[in-house]
Amino acid sequence: MSTEIMTLNMGPQHPSTHGVLRLVVELDGEIVEKITPHIGYLHRGIEKLSEHRTYHQTIPLTDRMDYLAPMHNNLGYVLAVEKLLGIEVPERAQTVRVIMAELTRLKSHLVWIACHALDIGAMTVFLYAFRERELVMDIYEMVSGARMTSNFFRVGGLSKDVPEGFVPAVQNIVDTFIGHFDTYEGLLTKNTIWLQRTVGNGVISAEDAINYGLSGPPLRGSGVDFDLRRDEPYSGYEGYDFQVAVGEKGDTFDRYKCRLVEMRQSISILKQALGKLKPGPVLADEPQVCYPPKEDVYNSIEGLIHHFKIASEGFPAPEGEVYVGVENPKGELGYYLVSDGSAKPYRMRVRPPSFVNLSAIEKMAKGSMMADLVAVIGTLDIVLGEIDR
């Protein structure tokens, strides 16, 4: 009997391509022979747009890259600009940044476990994870006024101090989330079907993972012990005690376990950070760079002029180039800034973890079945907003 290879166009409208990923898949029956990812459906030219904006005006653009972890994108960007300018950020601002970064990690991983489980058919976990994510969203709204496009961090610190009720809200998450994670594990880790679907699926060796440039859980799942928070600490991460989750076999189950351990570690970091949260300024004392306090803007002409000057002209940055990588929930999110001495970056290049991780999809899913391909997309935890930018 003669057979033919079937070319299946998967996406950009497909329930489990997580946004607008398009995969052209060549199938032999149900066996995946070749995968060609097509990207660009969400391209907004963020890198180019930033060249026409002052350093502060680019922060809201970064929200819209990995829209599941907006504050982490803000963080990487402001750290890069601060490194360019050589600004020190006050203690309190750093601690709040760590708290928000870890909450963001929880938020992003909750969406990951939700979608990953839903793709494999476990519908209830999806709704449970989204229920918990709502608590993180509430904190987002509390500090920044927005649930997704936060735009909360500023060059030199934070846009404003956290409001009253912030600490109890974070404490509530610290107190309750471990129990929720146990629920997910009860529904998944102890489920034979889940194990059958994830153990041995989408395997990538440590060597291949490094060669492909993977980062984040896909790298650690393969047994490579690398976490920027520990290896190149930023924002005061060196002062926290946490364990980096590392897998062994590099299959979907190991990545799943890694992320779950990471979520538990995030809770531990949050607990430590709440202990470190002391009163103090949240913006560096750098009048050339930082916006003046709102009271001054509204009540004094000098403050108003100061605000107007920074808002309209921005601030010049010294000539040079910097690279800052942060441990985004998806992997290493890098910002490479080139300055020509003006108030706008000459070039901004983003190293998006999802984009690099996606490149390994054929390596991981080739020769497996269609259903495994869906599991691999889920385990890579990609966000198209970041891939296309």
Binding site: N9, D119, I120, M123, T124, Q196, M370, V374
Partner: protein
């Protein structure tokens, strides 16, 4: 058997009543599933149309009927139109052999509470469930869409493998009852329901009917995350509705059969038979919904593996053991 006007009238009346019952039950099973799943998942579910959402099935029906009936340009129009009916008619026909309650004597007439008490009842059911495959296979084929095709291929292989273990798991029941007739099977359980003698067959039957209904963890033909909607990807409006309703009628029908084969059908203490039967069928439906709220989906080859290499041999061994045990008695 002589047929007079009363018999014919009675038969027609029974068909009409049964039709009404199963369509209503199926519609409310959809609502029940949505509400129960919502309850398990800590959300509200449909509660706006009517008190507690009780009129939701009606609203759904109106929506289905008024939606545009799209037929893809490249589809095989005849098969595309016929397939939904082929999926739902066998599901409805199964009810012809299901006794809802004990026979009653009304005005000197002995009225059995089923449309027809075929002497080959179980064979009739197996034949119908085999025919139901055509709805899935042809629906996917006629759509001329790759997702639908993949879904129908999965559907075919899945239903063929599970038909076998389902059929084999009923054989011990037939051996115990010494009849293929539904009323005999129920009467044979007068003292003790067969689940006591045949727990293994019951479990195999239960797993097989989950697969037969294409429910999670065996919902591969319509695996949402993989195949968009599987074999009914291209269907819209009431044609999709027929597939959908057929599936829920199937759940009720197979739940009813499971309670007839293993739980003694309408038999039970204290409560009237019809209530007992209803309770048992509802319990099965709830079980189906509960499973959906709990389990992830198997992969295509794992499902075949489970069916052919595990359930079928187990059912065969069970038949041998049952035969050996019966020969000793």
């Amino acid at each position: 058997m002589t047929w007079d006007a009363i018999d014919i009238g009675l038969m027609l009346a029974k068909i009409a009543v049964l039709f009404f019952i199963i369509l209503t039950l199926a519609a409310y099973l959809v609502l029940a599933e949505r509400r129960i799943l919502a309850w398990m998942q800590d959300r509200k579910g449909p509660n706006r149309v009517g008190p507690q959402g009780m009129l939701q099935p009606l609203a759904d029906l109106i929506k289905m009927l008024t939606k545009e009936d799209l037929i893809p340009a490249a589809a095989d129009r005849v098969l595309f139109a016929v397939a939904p009916a082929m999926a739902s008619i066998p599901a409805i026909l199964t009810f012809a052999i299901i006794p809802l309650a004990a026979p009653e004597t009304i005005f000197g007439h002995r009225v059995s509470m089923q449309v027809t008490d075929l002497d080959v009842g179980i064979l009739f059911f197996l034949a119908l469930s085999a025919i139901a495959v055509y709805g899935v296979a042809l629906g996917g084929w006629a759509s001329n869409s790759k997702y639908a095709l993949l879904g129908s291929i999965r559907g075919l292989s899945q239903l063929i493998s599970y038909e076998l273990s389902m059929g084999l798991s009923i054989v011990p029941v037939v051996m115990l009852a010494k009849s293929l007739r539904m009323s005999d099977i129920v009467n044979a359980q007068a003292e003790m329901p067969f689940i006591v003698y045949q727990p293994l067959a019951f479990v195999i039957f239960l797993v097989s009917i989950l697969a037969e209904c294409r429910r999670i963890p065996f919902d591969l033909p319509e695996a949402e995350g993989e195949l968009v909607a599987g074999f009914h990807t291209e269907y819209s409006g009431m044609r999709f509705g027929l597939f959908f309703v057929g599936e829920y009628i199937n759940i009720i029908g197979l739940g009813a059969l499971a309670s007839l084969f293993f739980l003694g059908g309408w038999r039970g203490p204290l409560l009237p038979p019809i209530v007992w039967f209803f309770v048992k069928v509802t319990a099965f439906s709830f079980f189906f919904i509960w499973v959906r709220g709990t389990l992830p989906r198997l992969r295509y080859d794992q499902l075949m593996h489970l069916g052919w290499k595990f359930l079928t041999p187990l059912a065969l061994v069970n038949i041998l053991v049952t035969g050996w045990w019966l020969s000793l008695r």
